[in-house]
Amino acid sequence: MSVLFKTLAFSLGLTLLFTLVTYLLPQVKGEAPVEKEVDLGSLTMESFIALGEEIFHNKGTCTLCHQPAPLGRAPDIAGEDMVALANKHLADERYQGDAKNAEEYIRESLLHPGKYVVAGWGKKGSNDTESPMPMVDKPPIQLTPIEVDAVIAWLQAKDGGEVTVALPAAEAAAEVASAVAGDEGRKAPAPAATAEEALTKYACASCHAMDSRDTLVGPSLLDVGLRLSKAQLRQSIVDPNAVVAEGFPPAMPSDFASKMTVSELEMIVNYLAEKKG
């Protein structure tokens, strides 16, 4: 019995010792990437660039390989001026790609890394003809076009270069939104890009005639620009019950203030102010 006790105690002790080792190490959790909603209506270039930087460090998993010298398995992107480097590579006689400027070059190196492999960083044994870089727009990384743009914007901006990438356009945003909605089914609708779109989105025409003097639930808006100033227009959308037009019920929804983006509101106001019959 004492043999059993001794051997069991020894075995359990050893097991606990191994467990202890795991407690001495840093307790890092590997969270799965969280879907992030970006409000494109209020997106500025600064926040777009910041988004690019975040993607570079997290979702893009770029830093797994792109690290400074002794650790890196790929060029140290964070530590070098990418615009200057891109122009240098474009001038290289080995360059066979289609890019004409730094932005195109960076985009090409992101989406088609095999087009030009920086000397010394090719796949082992391929003599720098094949790139070991994964496809960033395919699973498991799966960056969307907007995210790729954001990364490019950050790469251009981080060393003081001029950002030539445009902020995501509304159509692209709508596309992404619908794709995401299909994917997740619970995303907010994308902000409208034009006044007409915004009017459709908030279904103004179901109560207000736009192109005639007909009175529906609310007054016609055909010549509203003559009757109200921009400030009054803004107020009647944001707080419709402050001044209710004579002879009409206070039926207008009062939650536009929390639904519309600022740019949508401004677009609608400007549009209506121009409506002068």
Binding site: V3, L4, K6, T7, L8, F10, S11, L12, L14, T15, L16, F18, T19, V21, T22, Y23, L24, L25, P26, Q27, V28, K29, G30, E31, A32, P33, H57, T61, T63, L64, C65, Q67, P68, P70, L71, G72, R73, G120, K124, P132, M133, P134, K138, P139, P140, I141, D183, E184, G185
Partner: protein, 634 residues
């Protein structure tokens, strides 16, 4: 004696005939089952004519469109489902933890019962060639103590399957769809395995000598064949989830079952698990021998269990030595498949686990070496090598420390916050592979040296070129040490990553050269060598604890590496094809993993104890109570 000999062949002969007829029956039965599987058409043939009956002149009855539509839908390519967290049943405890424990227990016992018949067969074969009954008895005993393990494997396998279907129904539905009829083949193999197992075990004494022994060996071979087939099939599911093949980007099956199975990681995993299973099995039965040795008082029994423990340790360490090479191949294939996955394992959060791995492998090597050194007290000729042991011990300890220290130095709280899954930018270089590679290879070489001197300790070479052979052997070791250190330091720190990785292959080759040269030189040099007497059982009791340390470290290591293997998929069920959106889709912290691993290790320990206890039950017999004749029967 003559009588029994004459009886045995006929009895065995009848047995063999029965076996054969049973096999034939089985094959026919299976063929029938296979035909029944495709019997759908014939059933329709029988029923269809009735549907065609109609009055003359009347238009034919319109075919019901719905069934056709359903069939079409079924035929449409089926992509991997996209799940939300609501699609996962919630039973109140972590689904992952439940599956984790069950899967690991199943794997432990599966590994054990795959490995034991393998080396049992080899030992049996050795017994046949040496005509030494001790080998045969030991092989039989190894089978006896692991017999319950088959049932335990099946119990945990069944529970695991139930848990998976209950907790991950959509994933399992998808996998069932992808692997299709392969599941049936898998289930069918279990019948074969059980059949061969029981006939092999219970037929041991019936088929012991002469030609019948070869029948028995063939049964063992078939047992191993079915067991290994089961293993590689199950491996294909794991590797499909890590590196799917035979499906397109959306998970639609585009290849046949062979293309699905033969993913890029399949063979590396097969080899790695195959070798590791043997090492694991050897270590576990070694613990049995050690326990018996410590409990026994009878010198004959002690000698027997000492020898059994030695053999187990031999199996465990010898199959452990090539394991890093198989692991290297696996890792290289992972990198080739997905650089990102490789770095998640070796450079990301999981990289920290390789420090625990270092501790475990260090424990295994130190324990194995310690046992070998202690075992040298069995022979009188071991005095010659005493000095060398001190050097080996020193090398092992220094390498072990090199392996572990640089990592543990970077563990201040502020640095943890800086980590983000990567190495520290100043101390990092000490913690990455080159330093570790040097240490690991030197430890392997040192362990092999222990082995070699143990093997030499009871022999004296008689060949004329022995001094030259020894000089060459010393040169092989010295040159290897120089080369390994040079490769690691120069390419590891002074050239780029590609050369760094490439040089580790050269290091590994150097280690292999040492092993091959050592085996070749010694087998030539000690042919017809003078053999000194050795005394089984003459080993200190404390050496037996090394035989307990081995299985514990192996079990822990297996659970740890299994966790790493599964975690490199990160938040994917099937990498790049099917996302894991369950609440458990994150990689848990190391401490949590440590708890889980300890839990399964202790559970395994208990189950193994039970297994050994059941085995010992069959050997013990309750004496018939004397008083029972009077009052017991009332």
């Amino acid at each position: 004696m003559k009588q029994t000999e004459s009886i045995h062949p006929t009895g065995g002969g009848r047995f063999a005939v029965m076996l054969l007829s049973m096999l034939i029956l089985l094959v026919f039965g299976l063929a029938d089952v296979a035909r029944a599987g495709t019997g759908m058409d014939s059933a329709q043939e029988r029923i269809a004519p009735i549907g065609e009956v109609r009055l003359q002149g009347q238009p034919p009855v319109e075919v019901h469109v719905e069934t056709a539509a359903i069939q079409e839908q079924e035929a449409e390519p089926r992509a991997a489902p996209r799940l939300s967290s609501a699609d996962y049943p919630n039973i109140g405890v972590s689904s992952r933890a439940v599956v984790w424990v069950l899967a690991q227990m199943h794997l432990f016992f599966g590994a054990l019962v795959l490995a034991v018949p393998l080396f049992v067969l080899l030992i049996e074969l050795v017994g046949v060639y040496t005509r030494d009954d001790r080998y045969d008895d030991m092989a039989h005993e190894f089978m006896k103590i692991s017999l319950t393990g088959f049932s335990i494997t099946a119990i945990f396998g069944g529970s695991l399957a139930l848990a998976l279907f209950l907790l991950y129904p959509d994933l399992m539905a998808y996998l069932m769809h992808v692997f299709g009829s392969q599941w049936l083949v898998y289930a069918g193999l279990f019948f074969f395995e059980s059949f061969f197992l029981y006939v092999y075990y219970y037929g041991w004494n019936a088929l012991r000598y002469g030609n019948l022994k070869w029948v028995h060996l063939t049964l063992g071979l078939l047992l191993n064949a079915s067991g290994l087939t089961i293993m590689v099939m199950a491996n294909s599911w794991a590797t499909f989830m890590m590196a799917p093949s035979g499906v397109d980007e959306a998970g639609v099956v585009v290849g046949n079952i062979w293309e699905v199975m033969k993913g890029p990681l399949w063979n590396p995993i097969n080899l790695h698990r195959f070798i590791a299973n043997i090492a694991f099995g050897g270590a576990v039965v070694g613990a049995y021998a050690a326990f018996k040795f410590l409990s026994a008082k009878d010198p004959v029994k002690r000698a027997h269990y000492d020898w059994m423990g030695y053999t187990s340790n031999f199996i465990a360490i010898l199959s452990f030595l090539p394991l890093p090479f198989a692991g290297y191949w696996l890792m290289a294939e992972i990198y080739a498949y997905s650089q990102q996955m490789g770095i998640t394992a070796m450079g990301g959060i999981l990289a920290w686990l390789f420090i625990v791995q270092a501790v475990l492998i260090g424990t295994i090597l130190l324990a194995g070496n310690f046992y070998l050194w202690s075992g040298m007290s069995r022979t009188d000729g071991s005095e010659r090598y005493k000095g060398l042991i001190k050097i080996i011990a020193f090398v092992l300890v220094v390498c072990f420390l090199i392996w572990v220290t640089p990592h543990t130095l970077i563990l201040s709280a502020s640095e943890i916050s800086l980590l983000g899954g990567s190495h520290h930018h100043i101390l990092g270089p000490l913690g990455i592979m080159p330093a570790k590679n040097i240490a690991v290879n030197l430890m392997l070489i040192a362990t092999f040296l222990s082995f070699q001197i143990y093997r030499r300790s009871d022999k004296v070479a008689t060949v004329s070129w022995a001094p030259m052979g020894n000089a060459l052997m010393i040169a092989v070791y010295l040159g290897a040490v120089v080369n390994i250190i040079f490769l690691g330091v120069y390419y590891g720190y002074f050239t780029n990553t590609v050369y760094k990785v490439g040089s580790s292959v050269a290091q590994v080759m150097t280690t292999l050269v040492v092993i091959v040269f050592g085996l070749v030189i010694d087998s030539l040099m000690f042919k017809k060598a003078k053999v000194l007497p050795s005394h089984w059982g003459r080993i200190p009791d404390r050496a037996q604890y090394a035989l307990f340390a081995l299985p514990i470290a192996f079990t822990w290591l297996m659970a740890l590496m299994g966790y790493v293997r599964s975690s490199v998929k990160t938040h994917w069920h099937v990498y790049t094809v099917m996302k894991d959106n369950s609440p458990d889709n994150f990689i848990p912290a190391i401490g949590y993993a440590g708890n889980m691993i300890t839990l399964v290790t202790v559970l395994f320990l208990l189950c193994v104890l039970f297994m050994f206890w059941v085995a010992s039950l069959s050997g013990s017999k309750q004496p018939k109570p004397v008083v029972a004749a009077a009052g017991g029967e009332a």
